[in-house]
């Protein structure tokens, strides 16, 4: 096979016939990894029994198909090959580095969650939240205030081994919206796309390419209220909050329910959890002081 591009992330070494234009090339190597191949779509591939089906997705017991915006992905788990029919590079990357990789991970028993990850003072923290909740900004703030390292900006795969849940590193990117770049004084490198005011910020040297055992969960919410609120989350509420942060929730809940339950329950038991409610309009001084006092307590 002609290897146009190879990339390591989420414990996968990916050999692809398609280039990943917006991902920085990297030679980071995890201590253990599986090989995946990305190839041009082959009409002859057939998958077995359907276990979940929705408009654009079919999950089988040995792979899946996703069709979107004129594109088509087919994953053959037996041969670890992702077949792609592509007509739009931006959509290809948006799907490949999110839904596709998350679902491939699930076939390896890795459960995907919508989270950033940072290690500070040897503690691994997951910052969980929906798009726009401020995960990347908080990650950047913690990393710089406490001399920490990050292992994911947006998507984390969780793997349970010997009763411990590990978070797998993703890829060395932190992306911030322009307002956060300004507020945090980050040095921006390139816009992610010329029509969008979001930027890669230059922190590849702070990328930690190793799996970690998360100890603290931070659920980040935005609110129209004016004050910052922080509270500890315990018991079943912690589990429910975790479940709500599953990445591609419908798919994972339906097709990988047993594994999902096992991994999230173990993670819930091994972590302390907090909810931070962040006002949509941040008062920078109040925000900085509240965070400082909170992280000084928990780290």
């Amino acid at each position: 096979m002609k290897n146009l591009f190879s990339y390591k992330a989420f414990n996968f070494e990916i050999y692809s016939e398609f280039s990943f234009r917006t991902k920085p090339e990297t030679s980071y190597v995890s201590e253990e990894f599986y090989s995946l191949y990305v190839k041009q779509y082959n009409e002859e591939i057939k998958l077995d029994k359907t276990i979940f089906e929705r408009k654009n997705i079919q999950i089988f017991n040995n792979g899946f198909t996703i069709s979107a915006g004129g594109m088509y992905f087919l994953y053959d788990h037996q041969n670890k090959i992702i077949y792609v029919k592509q007509n739009n590079h931006r959509l290809f990357e948006a799907y490949f580095w999110g839904p596709v990789i998350a679902l491939v991970g699930a076939f390896f028993n890795f459960i995907p969650i919508h989270s950033s990850g940072v290690v500070v003072r040897d503690k691994s923290l997951l910052i969980l939240g929906n798009s726009g909740s401020g995960k990347s900004s908080l990650l950047y703030e913690i990393m710089n205030s406490y001399d920490g390292y990050y292992f994911s900006d947006d998507l984390i795969l969780l793997n349970k081994q010997n009763n411990l849940v590990f978070a797998l590193p993703s890829y060395p990117d932190i992306k911030l919206w322009y307002d956060a770049v300004e507020r945090l004084g980050a040095s921006k490198v390139n816009p992610i796309y010329y029509k969008i005011n979001k930027y890669y910020v230059d922190d590849k040297s702070r990328f930690l390419d190793q799996k970690t055992v998360p100890e603290i969960l931070i659920f980040l919410h935005t609110s129209t209220q004016a004050t910052i609120q922080i509270e500890e989350i315990k018991g079943s509420k912690k589990w429910l909050y975790l479940q709500s942060m599953l990445y591609r929730k419908h798919w994972i809940e339906n097709a990988f329910q047993k594994k999902m339950f096992e991994v999230l329950s173990a993670l819930s038991n091994q972590c302390t959890a907090y909810k931070i409610i962040r006002p949509l309009k941040i008062n920078k001084i109040e925000w900085d002081e509240t965070l400082k006092s909170f992280f000084n307590q928990i780290l």
Partner: protein
């Protein structure tokens, strides 16, 4: 499209009773118990599009997002009645695509409220002065969620001026529209809400209708907000359910402000019987 499926657009300029109608319909359709659990999304909600499309939407352009939402709303409305809140002014196209999934549209309920009350409520919501809000309601370019320097939880919504917002929905001929006055929802709740359900062909019993009217009554909404808070409350105001009355502007706007509103919106004010009696 079958009679019992399709999108019901709950369209209005902001602060014109849209939340009230959503709470009423949520109770009728889904037996909602808590005002923070409304199952009626706004058309501009990125979270809804992300949840239903299962793709990362945070780095898509507005045009790409719009293409995606057409698919999402089209699919979601396939087998059910699906009310959707919308504040955009009506247009046929957005970029080069249809603005709404027209083939899945059942009806639009257009809520109108006298602009003198709207201006007071909207100024509280936005944290602006009355005069600034009057200017905004005259502005043909007025667009919400338009700041492109930060992540916006909603797709930008072009509203334009208050008058043209009303005209855009009530004078278009592409989809059926039923016009409801906020003041009639207050003064004649039973008949007004009953007519809305009939127009939407939503089945109901008398018992269900009175229950939903009582659940969405202003007194109950204020109680619920006091007890649980309301997630849609603006950062600028103390509470969302503030006054809930008709024609309360008379003690709050001065003559100059009333005249300024009249100057820009006289045609629509007259058409919908909102002329102040002393002018």
């Amino acid at each position: 499209m079958k009679n019992d499926t399709g999108i019901i657009w709950l369209a209005s300029y902001p602060k014109s009773g849209n939340t009230w109608l959503r709470i009423f319909l949520s109770r009728i359709l889904y037996n909602t118990q808590n005002i923070n659990q409304l199952q009626i999304p706004i058309y501009s909600s990125k979270a809804f599009i992300e949840l239903e499309s299962e793709i990362d939407i945070s780095e898509l352009t507005i045009e790409e997002l719009h293409q995606l939402r057409l698919d999402v709303f089209d699919e979601f409305a396939k087998n059910k009645i699906f009310p959707v809140k919308i504040h955009d002014s009506f247009k046929q196209y957005f970029y080069q695509y249809p603005f709404l999934p027209f083939s899945k549209t059942k009806i639009a309920i257009y809520l109108i409220r006298n602009p003198f009350d709207v201006v007071i409520s909207f100024s509280r919501h936005l944290g602006l002065t009355i005069d600034e809000t009057i200017e905004l309601m005259n502005n043909e370019k007025f667009t919400m969620a338009a700041n492109e320097n930060k992540y916006q939880i909603q797709i930008p919504q072009h509203l334009g001026s208050w008058s043209n917002h009303v005209k855009s929905w009530t004078e278009q001929r592409l989809i059926p529209v039923y016009i409801v006055r906020y003041e009639d929802m207050i003064q004649n709740s039973y008949e007004t809400f009953k007519n809305i359900l009939n127009k939407c062909k939503i089945p109901f019993t008398e018992e269900k209708l009175t229950d939903a009217i009582s659940f969405s009554s202003f007194t109950n909404l204020q109680k619920q907000e006091e007890k649980y808070g309301f997630e849609e409350k603006s950062v600028h105001s103390q509470k969302f359910f503030h006054t809930g009355k008709a024609y309360y502007y008379k003690n709050l706007l001065n003559l100059g402000q009333i005249q300024k509103i009249m100057k820009h919106h006289k045609e629509i004010i007259t058409k919908f019987n909102y002329l102040p009696e002393y002018l």
